[in-house]
Every structure is written in structure tokens, then in C-alpha cells.
């Protein structure tokens, strides 16, 4: 009897959260999906069914083509950049060096700062002005005699979005390093010693033993970074305002919905973003929880 009562009580304790998540996550997703299939354009809700028209309109919209292209470029550079820098720093820090803790905290501190702050500062660092109005990193390069590095940053035609990945890498590569460092610490020292006894050099140990063992970490990091990059929004807003060449789906969604009142199209972008994140996250969630259960 007591058991039964307590089961009820335990369910009761989590019920408020379950209801909140059911409504605010799943209910709202359903609601957004419904809006994405409606005609709603204007201040007053209009749920007239239009099928997939909003999605069709979106895929015919040149602005959305720019968004997809920008997201792809940004994602590739951001994810690869963060992985390389993160792995490199983690391997260096794993060499039993003095001051490891200091460097580690230094590389990670950008994680504590908001993308808005990062964006505002990098907007000035990546100031594209030239000549007498030159400033930021261009000015630094000029002073150091590294003139060949001077460039137009995020105002570079066509490839401007690639430069937005720099502040994003600045912010997230330390985190990637921490993930890798955690992975390196998990590799039993006996494995390395055994390889040394067999005559493998440092390089071979990394290539044949350590890097393959880090593959699951790379996968997690790619998924975490990938889903951040699909959602990227505040960083770009803070660096560049809302310029079309640097547009991404999240900015388009915000503008078309809250400035343009085209709720149907905004909802369609939201649903597409959700689907692309879900493709990454759901298998990952299933996989992590399953391995966790096996341990």
C-alpha cells in the first residue's frame, strides 16, 4: 500500500515539469507546425489551411537560398576549425606540462561570455575599413608588417560568412578542447606504455591508438557544434546587424515573423530548423542513453 502511494507521489513530483515540457516543447512545436501550414500573415492570427505553401514559398525564395548556403559554409568552417584547434590544444595540454590548469581555464573562458558581447567586440576587431580609417586586426597586422593578412573580413564579397566563423571558433574551440581532454584522460596509461614497449614512437601512438579511441568524442563534438551552428543567431546579429549577405535561417525567421508579421513563413523556417537539428540529435540521444544503460 505504501509502495503504491509513493509511486503516485513520485509521479506527482515530476508532473509539473512533465506538463511544462509537454506544453512548452511538444505542444508548442505542434502549434508552430500548425502555423507553418496556415495563411497567417499580419497581426491577427489566421489559421486558414494552405498545406505546404509556406515551405514551397520558402524554397523558391532567393533569400532562403542564401541562408542555406551561408549555414553550410559557416557550419563547415566552424565545426572543422573548432575540432582542429580543440584537438590540437588538448593533445598539447595532455603532455604533462606545467601550467596546464592555467592554459585550460584561459582557453575556456569565452564559454562564459554571451555571443552578444563576443559579437560586439569582434565587430570592431574585424572592422573592414582601410586606409586612414583602418582599425582592429587590420591595423594590428599593418603594425606588425603582416600586410598580406589585411582583408575585408565579414564584408568580403561572397565569402563574408566564413569570417563570422572566427568569433564562433574563438568562443567554442575551448569547449571542444575540454571534451577532447576529457577523452584523453579516459585512455588508460597502460595502453600507451604497452605501445612504447612495442617500440612505437609518439606519432605512431597518436595515429594508431589515441586518435581512433577519440572518435566517439569527435562525433559528440560534431553533433554539439553542428546543432549550435544551425541555430546561430545572436553572434551574427551582434557582429553585423542584419545584412542580407550574412543572413541565416534564424535571422530570417526572426525578421519575417516579428518585423514582417508573416507568421506562416516564420513558422515554416522554425520547423525546418527543428527537423535539421532532430536529424542530428535524436540518434545521438538514443545512442548515448543506450550506452549509458549498458555501463
Amino acid at each position: 500500500m505504501r509502495i503504491k502511494r509513493e509511486t503516485l507521489l513520485s509521479v506527482a513530483l515530476v508532473t509539473p515539469s512533465i506538463i511544462a515540457i509537454a506544453v512548452f516543447v511538444y505542444g508548442f512545436i505542434g502549434w508552430t507546425a500548425r502555423v507553418s501550414l496556415s495563411k497567417w500573415k499580419g497581426l491577427l492570427p489566421d489559421y486558414t489551411w494552405v498545406g505546404l505553401d509556406n515551405f514551397k514559398g520558402l524554397f523558391q525564395d532567393p533569400r532562403f537560398h542564401i541562408d542555406i548556403r551561408n549555414t553550410l559554409i559557416f557550419t563547415v568552417i566552424f565545426v572543422i576549425g573548432s575540432l582542429i584547434i580543440g584537438l590540437g590544444l588538448a593533445i598539447l595540454l595532455d603532455q604533462n606540462i606545467k601550467g596546464e590548469g592555467f592554459f585550460r581555464s584561459l582557453y575556456l573562458f569565452p564559454m562564459a561570455i554571451s555571443f552578444i558581447v563576443t559579437g560586439v567586440v569582434w565587430r570592431w576587431l574585424m572592422n573592414p575599413a582601410t586606409g586612414s580609417r583602418m582599425s582592429g586586426l587590420n591595423l594590428l597586422f599593418d603594425k606588425l608588417g603582416l600586410d598580406f593578412l589585411i582583408n575585408q573580413w565579414y564584408t568580403t564579397p561572397t565569402w563574408g560568412i566564413a569570417f563570422i566563423a572566427i568569433p564562433a571558433i574563438w568562443q567554442m574551440s575551448g569547449y571542444t578542447m575540454a571534451l577532447y581532454l576529457g577523452g584523453l584522460r579516459g585512455i588508460p596509461i597502460e595502453l600507451r606504455e604497452a605501445a612504447q614497449v612495442d617500440g612505437a614512437n609518439e606519432f605512431q601512438i597518436y595515429q594508431n591508438i589515441i586518435l581512433p579511441l577519440l572518435r566517439p568524442i569527435t562525433l559528440s563534438a560534431m553533433i554539439i557544434l553542428g546543432h549550435i551552428s544551425l541555430k546561430v543567431f545572436d553572434l551574427i546579429v551582434a557582429v553585423s546587424g542584419k545584412q542580407l549577405p550574412l543572413d541565416v535561417p534564424a535571422i530570417y525567421m526572426w525578421q519575417v515573423t516579428f518585423d514582417g508579421y508573416f507568421f506562416g513563413r516564420g513558422a515554416a523556417i522554425g520547423i525546418l530548423l527543428l527537423l535539421s537539428v532532430a536529424v542530428l540529435i535524436i540518434p545521438y540521444l538514443i545512442y548515448t542513453l543506450r550506452t549509458e544503460a549498458e555501463v
Binding site: 509513493e6 513520485s10 509521479v11 513530483l13 515539469s17 512533465i18 511544462a20 516543447v25 505542444g27 508548442f28 502549434w31 502555423v35 492570427p45 584547434i85 598539447l92 595540454l93 603532455q95 606540462i97 584561459l106 582557453y107 573562458f109 564559454m111 562564459a112 561570455i113 554571451s114 555571443f115 552578444i116 558581447v117 563576443t118 560586439v120 567586440v121 570592431w124 576587431l125 572592422n127 580609417r133 583602418m134 582599425s135 591595423l139 594590428l140 574563438w170 575540454a178 576529457g182 563534438a221 545572436d234 546579429v237 551582434a238 535561417p249 534564424a250 525567421m253 526572426w254 515573423t257 516579428f258 516564420g266 522554425g270 520547423i271 527543428l274 537539428v277 540529435i281 545521438y284 542513453l289
Partner: protein, 274 residues
């Protein structure tokens, strides 16, 4: 072989120090600009150290940002504390009182951590309007509390999972029920998890921009929205923007410097490896 590796070891510090410069550049620029007097500020001398330590820029930035900094403070504490309490209760039940269906509920809650908020933004705004919380801070707090539940639940569940079952069983023999076991056994040893979760929620709510920009009206803006607005304006000088950025970063930076250990644990929970 061994001797050679050792003598070359200092070489490792070259890339490490170069990387340190990369991470510190924005901090350097924010600080040297902030401490310059107005007459000394020029884009030409952006990289130079200030001739004397002055607070003009910080004072000007604080004048502009103060109300918004307070909005942020008023919003983050309730947001962090309420979502931590909910997370603790959920974590307790999901780790120690599994019921039928709880193994489905847990991932279903976790999924909420990863969704792009663009997919719930329109209903969220409509809902807040319907319940009259649109525009103010309570609505923003509510949003942070609810969308914080997944990560707080995850952290507490993982933490409570490490606590031996025997402890709970022993307390039951002593006549403790579900709630009194929580109150007398788990809560007193939950401090580390609470610190991790509160810090994590504090940082994410403080740094949030998306919810703030769609849910609050200008007088209730948290500092991120105000700062972004300031940066977009042509009237406010770049040096004041830099000082303002620093002010907006200080609270979370202080948390990181003094409680970084716990911050890191929250960070790792986000990668699902508890």
C-alpha cells in the same frame, strides 16, 4: 630518445602561448579601450596601452546600461533557482524512483535541451500574451525556468545516480517516505549539484538574447539586448560599446573565475556525459 623529448618540451609552450594570445585579444582590446580617457580614444591607437588609468568609458557605459544590468540581475536569480529546484525533484525521481514510463520520459525531457527555439518562438509569444506575461521580466523568467528543466534534470539525475541505493533503503527502514528521504538524505548532500546547476542556469540566462529580444519590452530589456542595441546605434562611440561589453561580461566572468570548476561540470553535462 627520452632525453630528446624532454629537452624539446619547451617547444610545446610556443603554440600554447600563441593560442593564449588568440583567446585574450578581445579581452585586451575591451580593457585597454575601457581604461583610456575620452581624449585618448581613437581607432588609430586601439592597440596602445592607456597613458593613465581613467574610468570615463566605464562610467559612460554604466550610465547607459545600469537599468538593463539590474533587469538581468532581477531575472537570472529566480530563473536559476526555480529551475534548479524543479531539476532536483525530477532528478531524484528519475534516478531513485523509476516508475513505469520514466525511461521514456527522461529522453523526452532531454530533447527539449536541443531544440532550436525558433520552432517554439511564435507560440511562446502568443502564449505569454494570452496569460498577460508578455513584455515583462516574469514572462522571461518563466521561459528560462521551463527551457532550463532539461539540463537541470539531467545534471541532478546523473548526480543522484552516483549515490548508493543502500542509503535510501536504509532511510526507508528507518521509516522515511519518498519525501522525507529526499529531505533528510539527498538534499543535504545535493549542494555540489545545486552549485553546478545554478551557475549554469545563471550563465545561460544572463547570456541569452533570443528569448529576451522577443519577450521583453524596452524598459525590461536585459543587458544583452540593450548592449546589442547600443552597438547598432551610430551615436554611441565604439569605446563606450567596448566598455559596455565588458560590463555585460563581468558577472559571468566573475562566476567563471571563482567557480570555474563547477561551471565546467555544467558544461560537460551539456555533452550528456554526466
Amino acid at each position: 630518445m627520452r632525453a630528446r623529448t624532454r629537452s624539446n618540451k619547451w617547444l610545446i609552450y610556443i603554440p600554447l602561448i600563441l593560442a593564449a594570445f588568440f583567446y585574450l585579444i578581445p579581452m585586451y582590446v575591451m580593457l585597454v579601450t575601457g581604461f583610456k580617457g575620452f581624449e585618448e580614444v581613437s581607432l588609430k591607437t586601439m592597440w596602445d596601452l592607456p597613458k593613465a588609468i581613467r574610468f570615463d568609458n566605464f562610467i559612460e557605459a554604466y550610465d547607459k546600461l545600469a537599468p538593463y544590468l539590474w533587469n538581468s540581475f532581477n531575472m537570472v536569480f529566480p530563473a536559476a533557482i526555480i529551475s534548479s529546484i524543479l531539476g532536483s525533484l525530477n532528478g531524484y525521481v528519475l534516478a531513485k524512483w523509476k516508475f513505469k514510463g520514466s525511461e521514456i520520459i527522461f529522453p523526452a525531457i532531454l530533447f527539449g535541451m536541443f531544440i532550436p527555439y525558433q520552432s517554439i518562438l511564435i507560440p511562446l509569444v502568443e502564449f505569454m500574451r494570452d496569460i498577460n506575461l508578455y513584455g515583462g521580466l516574469p514572462g522571461l523568467v518563466l521561459a528560462h525556468v521551463i527551457y532550463g528543466i532539461p539540463i537541470t534534470t539531467l545534471t541532478f539525475r546523473n548526480y543522484y545516480a552516483t549515490i548508493p541505493k543502500e542509503l535510501i533503503e536504509a532511510s526507508r527502514i528507518d521509516g522515511c517516505g519518498l519525501l522525507s528521504s529526499y529531505w533528510h538524505i539527498l538534499l543535504p548532500i545535493s549542494a555540489p549539484a545545486f552549485v553546478v546547476v545554478i551557475i549554469w542556469q545563471f550563465t545561460s540566462a544572463w547570456n541569452d538574447f533570443l528569448f529576451a529580444v522577443v519577450l521583453t519590452s524596452p524598459t525590461n530589456w536585459p543587458v544583452t539586448v540593450a548592449l546589442n542595441n547600443m552597438a547598432g546605434s551610430q551615436i554611441i562611440a565604439w569605446n563606450v560599446q567596448m566598455a559596455g561589453s565588458f560590463l555585460a561580461a563581468v558577472p559571468t566572468l566573475l562566476v567563471y573565475i571563482f567557480l570555474g570548476r563547477y561551471f565546467l561540470r555544467g558544461l560537460m553535462a551539456g555533452a550528456l556525459k554526466g
